[in-house]
């Protein structure tokens, strides 16, 4: 049963998928720190308001995974911002997140060398994101 994207239920499912992944723990063993995703509104795609998602990653474990307010999102070690359509492309693996960042389709606040050093962790969590059975606000492909 697909879960509505970017809801608390979806965040719980995402967290569970990460925890269940057999490789995640070892790949992410060096990663420290929270990441928030800011989804810019696109009313035409049924995303009328910005959405803030906060995720806490720590040495292969995961902590808080919550839909949150702007203040909490801004407190994360890494804040990534993009239009809803871009995030959906990333989840569908039509757009690599690193490339999106380099091309300015996503923006990031945080330590870029840290992300580069841990690129395998970043790719892994995005890979898992694509596996969550999701119902997107503007419909699935």
């Amino acid at each position: 049963m697909p879960i509505k994207a970017m809801t608390q239920e979806w965040m719980d499912a995402y967290k569970a998928a990460i925890q269940a992944d057999p490789d995640y723990k070892s790949i992410a063993k060096d990663w420290e720190g929270s990441v928030s995703l800011v989804v810019n509104p696109e009313p035409a795609r049924n995303v009328p308001e910005p959405i803030y998602l906060f995720m806490d990653y720590w040495h292969g474990d995961v902590g808080d995974f919550v839909v949150c307010d702007k203040e909490k999102a801004d407190s994360a070690k890494f804040v990534m911002t993009g239009d809803y359509a871009r995030w959906k492309q990333v989840a569908y693996k039509e757009l690599d997140a690193t490339k999106a960042l380099l091309q300015g389709k996503l923006k990031m606040k945080g330590d870029l060398p840290y992300v580069v050093r841990n690129i395998k962790t970043v790719n892994k969590v995005i890979d898992i994101l694509g596996k969550v059975d999701t119902l997107w606000p503007d419909g699935n492909k």
Partner: protein
């Protein structure tokens, strides 16, 4: 007179010890712009193509473009061009640094150096005149020493210098500008050495090299600065240098390992990466003239066997070729190898690739310790590597075999050597694996100086550093390990990217700004009023001109190939199981470029591009 140009070129004859100025008409400048494109035009029009590259008849050209000296970001560049002693075909090598703007300030758009001096000389150019003076006291000095001495004589001078490798006519010799910037590829340092020209020194004092102060230019400049400020790519380059690619490229299958035989060495990459260099050895970021990105590294290794005084640090290519390619996990040893290559004046890609070949042959038992003068050339033995770097520059011992690059070395060594070299048309491939990125494979096959990542913007478009759908049809994301759709991407990325070397703008800056901004700045400076179609067709002309140059030297479709090693799939890493579909790539590409089955540009394309003279020579 078109805007952006100093208005004259210098022709120097070292045999006669004479010089004179010459000019070119606006029609020529508008068609061929500057840099390496204009150099190719001048070469074809004025010099014999078939002269030995190390003979006095091979001209050495140092050319700027119309944006150089304008103050626009990334426009400090110049191209050094000649027929290559390493490959025998067209050679160009663009360089950043400080030299280009000062040459403009001294009143010249370019310098063409002919002949050969009887003894070592310095060519000095400033806005009061030209002189040729004795360089005996500098001959034998390395690039850092010679640069320091020349700057002691005149601290505001900008210098181009060769080191021992160029003096010894190593066909992989480079030319250094102010220690940290190099025209590295294709052996142009040996051409300079063959002329007994130790250094070119410029000092330009006119306040502004070119008049670029109109409202259009100011707006384009402001826009470019903002775009660079907003660019994550520019930020990454500033923070990590080009070696930011090491971690990312190991994941995607871009980074060659163990002389192109392995992949997926993540720990090795991590030791050698931009973030590691930043954490442990970076003392500051450094910039070419007028560049806000400052991607260049200044590094220092305080202690250990490879302690290195503060100085220019390695770029990604060097970290890969003296790191992953040699199975060396020690970044301090890479920093030392980089310093030695800088001092001796050798291209790091060619030098490291030749040593990687030797290491592989040593492992296979095809080269013995005896032949190496007792050196143990086991993978990762960097003491032996550094000694071999020295021998190569001085053509001593086994270094004499490596001094002309991996292809010449493989010819001399025989056995399995040639199968272990990744090159196209005699130039060793840079450190981007065509099995991970098939478009790069096509670009290697078709680049006019041999396997090259800098005659086009394929690195940026295929790897997703930049996206320009306003310029040509582009997808949001390209999978590296597919050949489908890549011919068009390469063709378009060449037509745009090759302009970097005629406009003389840095690739990284061009990746970080929108094409509209570059176009507007170019038009504001030159007054040419080009639209995107004009720019792209200028790039087509540039590529076709150099292709014709090479055709006249015997290059045909038979030379447009990837070597066996690059067509052998890897078992691990991001490129595992993948090889480019070269038949598909070439078929589609040949159609786009209007190349006939021999690999010659078709007559109608030559006419369309205004290359009628070239047509007459190719179709006589």
């Amino acid at each position: 007179m078109a805007g952006g140009y100093a208005g004259k070129f210098l022709r120097v004859n070292l045999t006669e010890g004479s010089w004179s100025d010459f000019t070119l008409g606006d029609d020529i400048l508008k068609m061929f712009i500057g840099g390496s494109c204009l150099a190719a035009k001048l070469f074809l029009d004025r010099y014999p193509l078939d002269a030995d590259p190390l003979s006095p008849e091979n001209p050495l050209m140092i050319m700027t473009g119309p944006m150089v000296g304008s103050g626009f970001p990334g426009t400090s560049r110049f191209s050094v061009c000649a027929r290559s002693p390493q490959t025998g075909i067209w050679a160009e090598s663009a360089c950043g640094g400080t030299f280009g703007p000062d040459l403009k300030r001294a009143g010249y758009d370019g310098v063409v150096i002919e002949g050969r001096s009887n003894g070592p000389v310095i060519l000095a150019i400033d806005d009061s005149g030209v002189s040729i003076s004795d360089a005996s006291s500098l001959w034998g000095k390395d690039i850092y020493e010679a640069t320091d001495e020349l700057k002691t004589r005149d601290k505001s001078a900008k210098v181009l210098v060769i080191g021992p490798a160029g003096e010894n006519l190593a066909r992989i010799a480079a030319i250094g500008n102010d220690k940290g910037h190099f025209s590295g590829r294709a052996g142009l340092g040996a051409v300079m050495g063959s002329k007994n020209l130790k250094a070119v020194v410029v000092r330009g004092t006119s306040a502004k090299a070119v008049k670029a102060d109109g409202e259009g230019f100011k707006l384009a400049m402001k826009t470019a600065m903002q775009e660079i400020k907003d660019s994550a790519l520019a930020e990454g380059l500033h923070m990590m240098g080009s070696d930011a690619n090491m971690d990312l490229g190991m994941v995607t299958g871009d980074v060659p390992v163990k002389n192109w035989t392995s992949g997926g060495e993540f720990d090795l990459a991590s030791n050698l990466s931009g973030p590691t260099m930043r954490e442990k050895y970076l003392t500051k970021a450094h910039a070419c003239t007028n560049c806000p990105i400052a991607c260049k590294r200044v590094v220092k290794v305080d202690d250990g066997p490879f302690a290195t005084a503060e100085g220019p640090g390695p770029e990604y290519e060097t970290c890969a070729v003296f790191g992953t390619m040699l199975m060396n996990p020690d970044l301090t040893a890479v920093i030392k190898a980089n310093e030695l290559c800088n001092r001796y004046g050798m291209d790091t890609i060619s030098c490291g690739s030749a040593i990687a070949l030797a290491m592989e042959l040593y492992e296979k038992g095809e080269i013995t310790k005896d032949r190496l003068g007792g050196l143990d050339l086991s993978w990762g033995n960097m003491d032996a590597v550094l000694e071999l770097v020295r021998q190569t520059a001085y053509r001593e011992g086994f270094g004499d075999i490596l001094a002309d690059g991996a292809v010449h070395a493989a010819r001399r060594l025989g056995g399995s050597a040639m199968d272990a070299v990744v090159h196209v048309k005699g130039l060793e491939a840079p450190m981007h694996d065509p099995r991970g990125f098939h478009g790069m494979g096509l670009a290697y096959m078709m680049s006019n100086r041999g396997a090259c990542h800098l005659q086009h913007f394929v690195l940026a478009t295929e790897q997703g550093m930049a996206s320009w759908p306003q310029l040509f049809d582009m997808k949001d994301d390209y999978e590296g390990t597919t050949s489908v759709g890549k011919a068009a991407l390469v063709y378009n990325s060449e037509n745009y990217g090759i302009l970097a070397n005629s406009l003389s703008i840095c690739h990284y800056v061009a990746y970080s700004i929108r094409p509209e901004t570059l176009r507007d700045a170019f038009n504001a400076i030159t007054g040419f009023g080009f639209d995107f179609a004009d720019l792209l067709s200028t790039g087509m002309r540039d590529w076709t001109l150099k292709r014709g140059f090479n055709n006249l030297l015997g290059i045909t479709s038979k030379d447009d190939v990837l070597p066996k090693r690059a067509m052998t799939a890897l078992e691990e890493g991001g490129a595992a199981g993948s090889v480019p579909d070269t038949a598909l790539l070439l078929k589609e590409y040949y159609a786009l470029r209007a190349l006939d089955e021999r690999g010659f540009p078709k007559a109608e394309m030559l006419v369309r591009l205004g290359l009628d003279d070239l047509k007459s020579r190719l179709y006589q």
